[in-house]
Symmetry: C2
Subunit: 685 residues, 2 copies
Amino acid sequence: MPYGDLDQLAINTIRILAVDATAKSNSGHPGAPMGMAPVSHILFNKFMTFNPKNPDWLNRDRFVLSNGHGCMLQYALLHLFGYALSMDDIKNFRQVDSITPGHPEAHDTPGVEVTTGPLGQGFANAVGLAIAQAHSAAVFNKPGYDLINNHTYVFFGDGCAMEGIASEAASTAGHLQLGNLIAIYDDNHISIDGDTAVAFTEDVMKRFEAYGWHTQWVEQGDTDLDAIEAAIEKARQVKDKPSVIKLTTTIGYGSELQGTHGVHGNPLKSNDIKGVKQKFGFDPEKSFVVPQEVYDMYHKHADEGAAAEEEWNKLFAKYKEEHKELGADLARRLTRDLPEGWQEKLPTYKPSDPAIASRKLSESVLEAIHDVLPELISGSADLTGSNNTRWKKAVDFQPPSTGLGSWEGRYMRYGVREHGMAGIMNGMSAYGTIIPAGGTFLNFVSYAAGSVRLSALSHQRVIYIATHDSIGLGEDGPTHQPIETLAHFRALPNIMVWRPADGNETSAAYYMALTSKETPSIIALTRQNLPQLEGSTLGDAIKGGYTALENEGAQITLVSTGSEVSIALEAVKYLKEKKNITARVVSLPCWEVFDAQPKEYKLKVIPDGIPSLSVEVMSTMGWEKYSHEQFGLNRFGASGPYKEVYAKFEFTPEGIAKRAVATIDYYKEVKPLRSPINRAFLQLI
Amino acid sequence: MPYGDLDQLAINTIRILAVDATAKSNSGHPGAPMGMAPVSHILFNKFMTFNPKNPDWLNRDRFVLSNGHGCMLQYALLHLFGYALSMDDIKNFRQVDSITPGHPEAHDTPGVEVTTGPLGQGFANAVGLAIAQAHSAAVFNKPGYDLINNHTYVFFGDGCAMEGIASEAASTAGHLQLGNLIAIYDDNHISIDGDTAVAFTEDVMKRFEAYGWHTQWVEQGDTDLDAIEAAIEKARQVKDKPSVIKLTTTIGYGSELQGTHGVHGNPLKSNDIKGVKQKFGFDPEKSFVVPQEVYDMYHKHADEGAAAEEEWNKLFAKYKEEHKELGADLARRLTRDLPEGWQEKLPTYKPSDPAIASRKLSESVLEAIHDVLPELISGSADLTGSNNTRWKKAVDFQPPSTGLGSWEGRYMRYGVREHGMAGIMNGMSAYGTIIPAGGTFLNFVSYAAGSVRLSALSHQRVIYIATHDSIGLGEDGPTHQPIETLAHFRALPNIMVWRPADGNETSAAYYMALTSKETPSIIALTRQNLPQLEGSTLGDAIKGGYTALENEGAQITLVSTGSEVSIALEAVKYLKEKKNITARVVSLPCWEVFDAQPKEYKLKVIPDGIPSLSVEVMSTMGWEKYSHEQFGLNRFGASGPYKEVYAKFEFTPEGIAKRAVATIDYYKEVKPLRSPINRAFLQLI
Ligand SMILES: [Ca+2]
Ligand SMILES: [Ca+2]
């Protein structure tokens, strides 16, 4: 169908909404929306299927704006198509407590699939969404029931194209031959520093070809609507590889400053705004104007989407009759609830059970639960044998043509791409049918910090399996031994950082990680063996902290995590034998979960009246919240057999006892000696 | 010259040393050394110029092992060529306090240029070393004085090739046309997860071509020594672009398990070791054997390197006569001392000076000092106008053919590549003639966490200019507002995290960052304006913390940083007026520097007897070290005008005062009320 005036009007309406909103807030990025309005119009109105009245419909096409600073583009589209995003919301762009924040946030705004803005993230998310689609299609689609066949579209700019995370994700997507993934590269030759010639002169399409993508170039992305349509159509026909379309556009198209970075991150000047409106046939004196025919056209398409969903709902109803088990499984997954009774599969341990590394305990959990939790997809950033992330009978998620696995496979080979893995997992989780878990060494979760932050901010149930969690990894040495890592992620809001001390605590970590629908988890696990504790139970450990050893008349509380809990328990014996001092031990595998317990409980665990000493073989930062004094490691570690490294830094019963004695002595005269659980006021959360 | 038996003997000696050392330590990676011994032999013995007796000689060729887990390869080479790394050191591989740790650490081991192991880092470091070479050559070389013309060689494996940081650095290197950079890709088709076919099927050479690199492929990397030599020779002749050689090798060449991941990260079994030795004509019963003729050959090459240095020293002596100023400048730079009196250029401020955003104050520092510190090279990850990292007359570091700058240019356009930038800066710093400073938003320093950690671990004087340091950035919202970031880097050893409150503190941050030869710095700077404080001086601020407002009879100390110090000072007035409470204020712009002050001083700043309350608009984590109670933000921020965002979270004089009252009340009855500066015992550092 040839494009006409109404199409152009719609395109210009999008542009002008972006101009008006950034002007009103005196903040934001008009340039990308103005440049990408044409392709957005075609994509949303011609190709994408979605129902604005139900943004959660499973089989909707997914749209990701990886260049999230252009979010007024997305907000304009959502508004025009009839999502629950009003013109007042547009007028409140970038205002406190609005649903139109400065970058798109999935949990704030209906129709926003993933939280973007930090560059490169959305691209990786899109790869994850496409993986989830391919996997879910393989699991659920049956003859006559093409239930899950949506496309994932992602827009990205030069900034995303430069980011390493996008390179990692693009290489992964090429390897995985993700045919339903279509990326549109806004090739406008401008980034914040000006012309991309100053730093970015590579041949982007050639690079994508090297990754195994299908590539196209639309030279006149501002005006050649037919070419844009043809390219998207062609990309949809390519089923054996992901597609990228390089779309050469003019940033800020229509502005006096078009084609310059002056229009990237600043509202247009008022003269310029008037000029743009005149050029596009709008009244220069009016703002936030949407011609009714634009609404009408877009609402018509939205109605088609609603009808498509209705059809789909019927199909799914029939599917649930014919494929009862699968249908029930899919319906359940969409609630994000786990199957009833699944937790009975979690391993539990007695003190007499053998000492085992917690990375192996984690493996036992995966082995035990993978059958009852079909939504769990494990994987590793090329450390499968070290992270112990793979259950024995796991099948790789691989294109069947590789002969290495299948689309139904539930084990991801992420390659040595930690940041890409994390960004991909955020997308997999956002799809709605999958719980992704991915492994690397704890130290290299830091490579993924940008994405881990977004797991937390955007409420994704993603599980980071982080092995080799301390100097206890031994010989690999300081380059691999985390010091600051737990402090880093404990300081990040809305993420659970677990460091289990034994088997029951490891099961507890998984229980909480899997049942917390809106919170990601990092589970820090040892390379070295750990004994099963006397005092641990799954029920205690899911409180995040508990008394691992009570002792009447205790003079000090030792508060510890992970591999140091058993050393602290040894220290109790040493203190009694050598110093006649009575001590008690608290295991605190997850601060965030412990913090959420009633104060009364927390005060029983870390009581008033006696001092407490924290024991953890890494940065002491933050331990003051739970202890009066801190024994840790505020320096880099050392390369050597782990027992020798522990001894070098005095993480031995003697070393702990020495500091316990000093702590008791120091606090003798302080009255009242309050538990650090007591505070003068509550924090804002 | 044709290769003969002695060459093969040397190659096999390297292999067997790696086998013996990993066997003795029962830990480590024999596979990469066995596969890369041939190219190492040719590179080190035929091409590289270096003097093992002086690993610091400026014009030495640089070698980087980006696949640092193969460090026994490097240790073997260093030993054989006569560096201060004895056979006993080899035997102590991966033992506590040895100079042969599990991954190469530059400050531990003579001849190791940069600290590698975390994958991809060495590749970026090599790009930085090559940039430093190109820049230093442009600055110092004169007709007849080709003083600085070394090559930088880097080995990298599949792991590095998959990492985003290497992609970023490779794209940068291609753009910069770094002709003296030669990368050798160990294409052995194996990573920890097995065959690279499971995750890594892209065309790596095509990707490098897309970046603008010259590419070659040596198909028989195990045996075709002539082809290896020819490829390196060819790469050296290519002067207008960086070169990469894909070298197809067999991991663990010679082992029964060669070509499998079984030989990647585990010592060979004893049978296998015997077999390898027999195959290579070594006595299977002996270990750590080096044939004298191998020593002789390598020592001869080392002698040639020593002679080359002697020639160079003569040339440099003559240069210092003829080009007095430049000669003196280069000689000074090599000491890492700054020019005498440079600090007099640092701006200082009076309270009556206007309020200025600290990112602008930082710009003023750069403007003021860039002339006296020619070794300072600034730059930004595509946020030049936002980071304010560029002095007015700065020239870009660019290949002259681009018409955008010159090799002498001192401003780097890193592109949107934070991790690459940081890894490149580590390499630039390691070169020895440059102090790199690079900008991004504080929130996106997290993208670079892997490299920032190595700045700290490897003692590089790198400066991170981190603007938009809090919710004070306003409208960009939670995706861009740091919460956990300062806690993260404060928990990292050997790095200064500065958050200056005004102009004098900003100058102090730069003073310390520039004069600390072995410590990197992060300088967190505001987007919003800050008033010049009454109580601040450069002399006080370089102590990391000082009393910004003393008040006789104070009932509470408010401890704060950056943009919150002036709000805390307002709170003091509010407390006096509304509550008749007397408060004092401490500014603590850098914990690490404050920690290093004498205890007596610290106790004057945060005294016994009255409670203290910290005020910082991000995670409270760690503030317990300096305060009894903490006012912070342990949740994500909000998108909106910054004053409204501050008000939403009660970071106002009233909000602070409310918490100060609660704190005073809570600690009224505690006796003795000790300053948190007092501790029961000292930490290990
Ligand atoms: Ca762009
Ligand atoms: Ca490899």
